[in-house]
Subunit: 340 residues, 2 copies
DNA sequence: TTGAAAGCGATACCAC
DNA sequence: GTGGTATCGCTTTCAA
């Protein structure tokens, strides 16, 4: 297949100039007469010339390609970030590899080995949790989006929300509305348990800050063996079935929150009055629910933008201003906490 | 950055053999003694050698990379396919570029030009609609997943459902349950209007096959200016508000169906009895609804598998057995048509 | 302004 | 079984 495509050498021959000149013209580099430029460009166009990136990459040891590592693109929170990041990178002239790690260290290592071989210029680590120090392994710029970590390396940046503060704010929203017994529902949160990115930390801190006794029966954790929505509903159902009760729920994720709301409604509980619920992500799930679910906007667009520009800066060999970029979040109250 | 990585040449020098031998050992090709093999492999490992793919690609004119073109990865139907396809390709030793075309011809052309330059070995066109003949432009294998077209080219395969039949089955499901006036609700279906892939065709065909008069007031089309769920709800609301009525709804998509159900519920209509609704995709949206929404399973996993194996076959230069692969679909009835 | 030629890293043909 | 070397397509230095 592929009738050997035309090379810069062919163009040179046709134009009666050297490959050096052709290269210069094609890249707006060096100097050449307007005449040669038009000649070369004309021939290039008529021959349908397209540069061979493999050759260019080999020569320049830069592929203009970034790897997007994410646990699972089919998760809508991640895929929204992937979409945005890919778009921004494309605008900057980069292609993106998509790599689904399933949060599996081994698979991640495989990817990284492959990527270093494929000579990617940088890595955007979206929403995952590494136990392996990526940056050290690849020695190319790495940006972590939606995850905070301790950056030691020079070419590593973290962008994300202040998660402990975020869950703190969720919790305080409920108590401020008069809740007395607030449950915490999460699904697979353990994936996210790292020193600085503990999604649940704020819940615990709020309780201790306010001298409220932690009731472990109200901390419901699912292992994410099935859709988080279904699992969350089951957790709530079991808890209630076991005779425990609560009047507020901090749900770590809108899907989780929707599951909670559904489970409560199924038991005839008036969500928003009897029990208040708050989720996070401000995703479609919180909006399609009846009653509409209070949530926390995490500003993913800003995450993507700041992450990509930090990455691009590193690719230009600039030292990024900050190695940890905190994107603000914002509580959005809807019916499930307002009770209207 | 990147202390020039070790090359095959370095290995050769360290092992005291030629690059040819090293290459042979590394690729299990040609012949060499066991001793040299162990020596070379040992040194390669201790030097942390990784092949430079740019060089390999240049030499072999094959990048072991596939481009995934999709309108929008953040759409969960597409992203599920992307996830599956990427996984299968990875298992076969291919990396995947992710390209979001937004169904924009111009952007698509840009991508294609870039991809041909980046020397991708093949293209998986997922869920989009091309007006530009991709295959002709790139002259590499192309598989269209979730879209049927007329393949003329040798290296082009289409994989998807029989959409006209699918919507026919949706429609008949409703009439079989006793509906008399069935509406059709779609959002941005016009994107999909191609001769052989008209999502709505089966609706019209069912009506004419059964001598049922088409009521244009019951054909509700949205332009997808906002979330399809919201838009669908508005369409239904306007229709009802204008005094038209129906007792069945064919919704082209589960999100659309969910919007329809919400709109009906808001008006106090008993969904499943007064009005029956069927969606398609068997996505989470149909399952989280109360009442649960009847839908059509499209077997996306099978689509991905058959699409990828056809692509891999073409990459091996085999002629795929079929150039149009029809994946079976299956109506799944739930509360919104069963009325339980 | 233009060109000759070296070299990026790997493969493969052909001698030995 | 092993090695010398041309080659893939492009960029870039240095001379002319």
């Amino acid at each position: 297949m592929a009738k050997r495509s035309v090379s810069i050498y062919d163009l040179a021959k046709l134009a009666g100039v050297s490959t050096a000149t052709v290269s210069n013209v094609l890249n707006n580099k060096g100097s050449y007469s307007e005449k040669t430029r038009d000649l070369v460009l004309g021939i290039a166009r008529e021959q349908g010339y397209v540069a061979n990136f493999a050759a260019k990459s080999l020569r320049e040891s830069s592929t203009k390609t970034i790897a997007l590592l994410t646990p699972d693109v089919s998760n809508d929170f991640f895929s929204t970030l992937v979409l945005k990041v890919e778009g921004l990178l494309r605008a900057a002239g980069y292609s993106s590899y998509i790599c689904n790690t399933a949060n599996d260290d081994e698979r991640e290592d495989e990817y990284v080995r492959g990527l270093i071989s494929k000579q990617v210029d940088g890595i955007a680590y979206i929403g995952g949790v590494t136990r392996t120090p990526i940056q050290a392994a690849v020695d190319i710029p790495v940006v972590h989006i939606d995850h905070m970590g301790k950056s030691g390396m020079t070419h590593e940046v973290y962008v994300g929300n202040d998660m402990p503060q975020l869950s703190y704010d969720m919790t305080s929203t409920l108590f401020d509305r008069g809740c007395q017994h607030v449950a915490l529902v999460s699904v697979s949160a353990s994936f996210y348990r790292t020193e600085e990115h503990d999604q649940a930390a704020g819940y615990y801190r709020y309780l201790s800050d306010h001298g409220i006794r932690l009731d472990k029966n109200l901390v419901l954790e699912g292992a994410h063996r099935q859709t988080s929505l279904i699992e969350a509903a089951q957790l709530v159902d079991e808890c209630l079935g076991a005779g425990y009760s609560f009047d507020g729920v901090v749900a770590l994720g809108d899907r989780v929150a929707l599951g909670v709301v559904n489970a409560l409604k199924a038991r005839g509980i008036d969500v928003g009055r009897d029990v208040r619920v708050i989720g996070m992500d401000d995703s479609i799930y919180s909006r399609i629910s009846t009653p509409a679910i209070s949530t926390v906007r995490r500003n993913t667009d800003e995450m993507a933008e700041r992450g990509v520009s930090a990455l691009l800066a590193m690719l230009r060999d600039e030292q990024p201003a900050e190695s940890r970029i905190v994107v603000p979040h914002e509580v959005i109250e809807r019916a499930t906490t307002l009770g209207e």
